[in-house]
Amino acid sequence: MTQHPTDAADRTDPIRIVCLVALATSHGLIRLAERYLPEFVVAIGSGPIVAGALVSLGLGVAVAASRHSSDADAGPTSDLAPAAAAVASVLVAAVGLLAWAGAPTLDALLGTPLSALGWLAVGIVLLQAWHVRGPVRDLWPTDTRAAAPPSSAVPARDEASIRRGAVDGRRTRTVVGALGLAAAAVFAAAAVASAGGVRTGFVLVAATGAAVALVGAIALGSAGERTSILTARVLGEGLEGSNRDGESEARRNETTTAAPADAESPLGAVSSAASRLPDRRRWAVIGDALVRVALAGSWPFLILLVVEYRSIGLSIGGLSLAPAAVFGLFVLAEAAGAVVGAVAAPALASRLDRRAVLAVGLAVVSLLPMGLVAAPSNAGIVAVLFALLGCRTAIEPLRPTVGESARVAPVPGPRLPDAVGTAVQVAVVPAPLIGGLLYAVDPIFAFTIATTVGLLGVRELGRAFAFGRP
């Protein structure tokens, strides 16, 4: 296995540690702010449709920007570019969080006609810089985005190294991301509880996120002065382990099996790429995509369900926490579940039938929206359901839409063509908006539809696995 010469020194480098802590914490605070955004939107007088539209806007901008970004990656870049892009993306994200924090009053200060929602939209657009070009964009995302495509070529490694690297890197990313999220969840719960409401609590989370992101940007910039360590690329490798190496290698080996889609319209490219996939592979991708759409359509409204619809509070001894603060603890449970899932993933994949693990896992994920609606108003039970939601990291490596190497995918076939992967990402974009519309009609209706769509996806996956057939 190839060892980078600076690895040993880099891992104990104090600047690197500061970078990792700051960026992982920023990651957590940004994700928490995103989780609280729908409740904040409601608190400033709008409803779930607007919240869904804002989330869809973010997903749409991310898809468009990631396509542009991957095109740019294909061209020649200087050594400085990735580090500068990483610092810039973190700074832009910090500005985005500030736009969120000041959204209700920025018009009064600047004399602009955007309104609070307009500034929230501006913040969302700016935050996509973090998701698309940020140095820790591959940490466990908590939402329904598919993994970012590999962006850098690296020296080839043997197959065992690729597999091992992929597993270790993914687990590291998940655990670091979940730890950042857990820290942010505790902070958010405390902030919302001490502020006495989500309006001030959200501002505190966003402002703190901006501060930590600024620290991360300065730390990255400071590290950039040392040529031997810690350009954004090195940091990326550090967090991502050798996973990217594995994926890149796999991609090089497998792209030969995917025909080019030159001179075709985007829709035609997707159609032809999908038609070239074997039936089972196609069904598996469609099934997984449906589950992603279902989760994307319900995930942003979990906070509304817990805070507005179910009003699940918590009292321990003399301490009473309002539902909005308790939601932070639910996210903490989700992060804990994510760690458990990530740690258990290799064992599950090696000891059990990967197809069964994937199918059962996706079925559980699909049933969770209904479970959250139907569960008793008990914080402990809801926390367990959130933890189960987090446990989906156990099946993430196996999901057909992740673009995983055919070597480790449970469904035989070539690697997912880029056009199909992009189509899945695009399909997810309107889901929050539609989910918001349905939630506005009736939360139970919205979550029932989400579960139904998810189960349809599991059914498609079942076709791909040919369960019950010889």
């Binding site: 500061v18 502020a195 930590v212 620290v215 300065i218 002065e225």
Partner: protein, 499 residues
């Protein structure tokens, strides 16, 4: 050479470590106050916080940072550097220095008694909320016993600082082994600040005694008639020189550090010394510019405006020496150098905003606004604190025989620089809009700027966490410092302290 107190040996390095440790602890405590009040200002309304609590935060923040952080830090840096710079064996009276230091500990506890009592739930003891200036009648009429404890603490600070100043003054005058012409600029600033302290701090003790007499004996010195104005004259006669006592040694640090990492000798050594002495003298003649809105006559205000503007001249002379020293230099961006350069930048912004405040019509308009907050924090947090950071980093090997991790040190400096710029840049904008200071609520339109300031404050806090990590790492794992830790031996600036 060490001299003993009881069983323990005290030398200048130990005195320095004690002072710097106290400054560190109290700086963190005072910084925590600032974080709380900045967090309270994230939203335009108070929420769960009371206005009284907000007032307490800015009162204890100001008192702690000035009396329990800045002063001990300055004396700590002075103790570590001055004896070797003047080739003295040690300080002149280490026992006196030790007594002076140990007076600061009960002083700190007394000054923070309200907070401690509040945390421990001591009945009737609440954090003082009258502002660090303790204007009567608020301070005299307050029923809070923590005010008495605070006044007693300030009296102890006055005694302790006077003794410390005397120790340093005697050291420079009696123990000096170099000729006056060879005395470095930092030592000159310490000499001047110590002499100023001998004049100013007894005035603090006297004014504090007046308030205590009014509170306990109902003497009525400061109540009714012109009493409150008497307090202001006495207080600011002490407190404005205090600003320069706090500013001058950092000026000396910058004058010491800049040439060493610019590969040059300090340009205008004599000019720098004369400007130090001039600032020391003139600073006792400007106190009433803090009172332009108290009803003084126009001729009196004009006189104080002119004397205040006069302070800008020696200050500008110092700036010129720094800039010309840098001109054409071969600059090494070490942590102390980056901190010094940033300090110079903040000195310019903080100084220029101060010049405007000296002008009566502008002062009348802006004195009650965040403009003043931004101005003095740009000087105190931007210039004084960063120059102290430069001094601590530069002389850290002298203090501990170890080296700090240079990457973390630079990161600490950069984070502090950005944090200070963001925080007080935002507050300067708020001040230019004439938003009143010392008020816990504000119009909603200013929320984004206050939030930006809070973000900057959090960055400053993160920077200090990096400093603490570096300090701990260096004390436990740091490499032993070589004799010439900054590789200055072949440079044009003398390196007397490293011999």
């Amino acid at each position: 050479m060490t001299r003993s107190i009881g069983r323990s040996n005290v030398d200048h390095r130990r005195l320095a470590r004690w002072h710097l440790a106290l400054a560190l602890v109290m700086g963190l405590w005072g910084g925590l106050d600032a974080l709380f009040l900045r967090t309270a200002l994230v939203t335009p309304t108070l929420g769960r916080l009371t206005a009284e609590t907000y007032n307490a935060f800015f009162t204890t923040h100001g008192l702690t940072m000035l009396f329990l952080f800045a002063l001990p830090a300055i004396w700590g840096v002075s103790y570590v550097a001055v004896p070797p710079l003047i080739e003295a064996d040690d300080v002149a009276a280490p026992t006196l220095g030790a007594v002076a230091f140990w007076l600061q500990v009960p002083a700190a506890l007394s000054i923070r008694a309200g907070t401690i009592g509040g945390i421990l739930g001591v009945a009737g003891l609440e954090p003082v909320a009258s502002g660090w200036t303790l204007y009567p009648p608020l301070s005299v009429l307050s029923a809070n016993p923590a005010v008495d404890a605070l006044l007693a603490g300030l009296a102890l600070v006055a005694v302790g600082t006077t003794l410390t100043a005397w120790t340093l003054l005697r050291t420079i005058l009696r123990e000096r082994e170099v000729r006056w012409l060879e005395v470095d600029t930092f030592t000159w600033t310490v000499l001047t600040a110590a002499a100023m302290s001998l004049l100013a701090f007894p005035v603090l003790a006297a004014t504090v005694a007046l308030v205590l007499a009014d509170r306990t004996l109902a003497t009525g010195f400061l109540l009714g008639g012109g009493g409150p104005q008497v307090w202001q004259h006495l207080f600011w006669f002490f407190a404005h020189p205090l600003v320069y006592i706090v500013v001058l040694p950092p000026m000396g640090i910058v004058s010491h550090v800049l040439p060493r990492f610019a590969g040059r000798k300090l340009f205008g050594h004599r000019s720098s010394v004369y400007s130090t002495l001039a600032i020391g003298v003139v600073s006792f003649t400007v106190w009433a510019h803090h009172m332009f809105v108290t009803g003084m006559s126009l001729p009196v205000r004009t006189v104080f405006m002119l004397t205040t503007l006069a302070v800008a001249l020696p200050s500008s002379a110092k700036l010129c020496t720094w800039l010309v020293t840098l001109w054409g230099g071969s600059i090494r961006y070490t942590a102390p150098m980056v901190a010094s350069l940033a300090a110079v930048g903040f000195f310019v912004v903080g100084g220029v905003t101060g010049v405007f405040l000296a002008v009566v019509p502008i002062n009348v308009r802006y004195t009650g606004t965040y403009y003043v907050v931004a101005h003095f924090h740009l000087l105190l947090a931007g210039f004084v604190a960063l120059a102290l950071v430069a001094g601590v980093y530069y002389w850290f090997p002298l203090l501990t025989d170890r080296r700090l991790e240079p990457g973390l040190a630079r990161l600490h400096v950069w984070l502090t620089v950005v944090g200070v710029a963001v925080t007080f840049g935002a507050l300067l904008l708020v001040g230019l809009a004439q938003l009143p200071r010392r008020v816990a609520t504000y119009p909603a339109a200013y929320a984004p700027l206050h939030q930006l300031a809070t973000v900057g404050a959090y960055v400053i806090a993160a920077a200090q966490a990096v400093f603490l990590a570096n300090l701990a790492r260096s004390l436990w794992l740091g490499d032993p410092a070589p004799n010439d830790p900054w590789a200055l031996e072949s440079g044009p600036s003398h390196t007397r302290e490293w011999k």
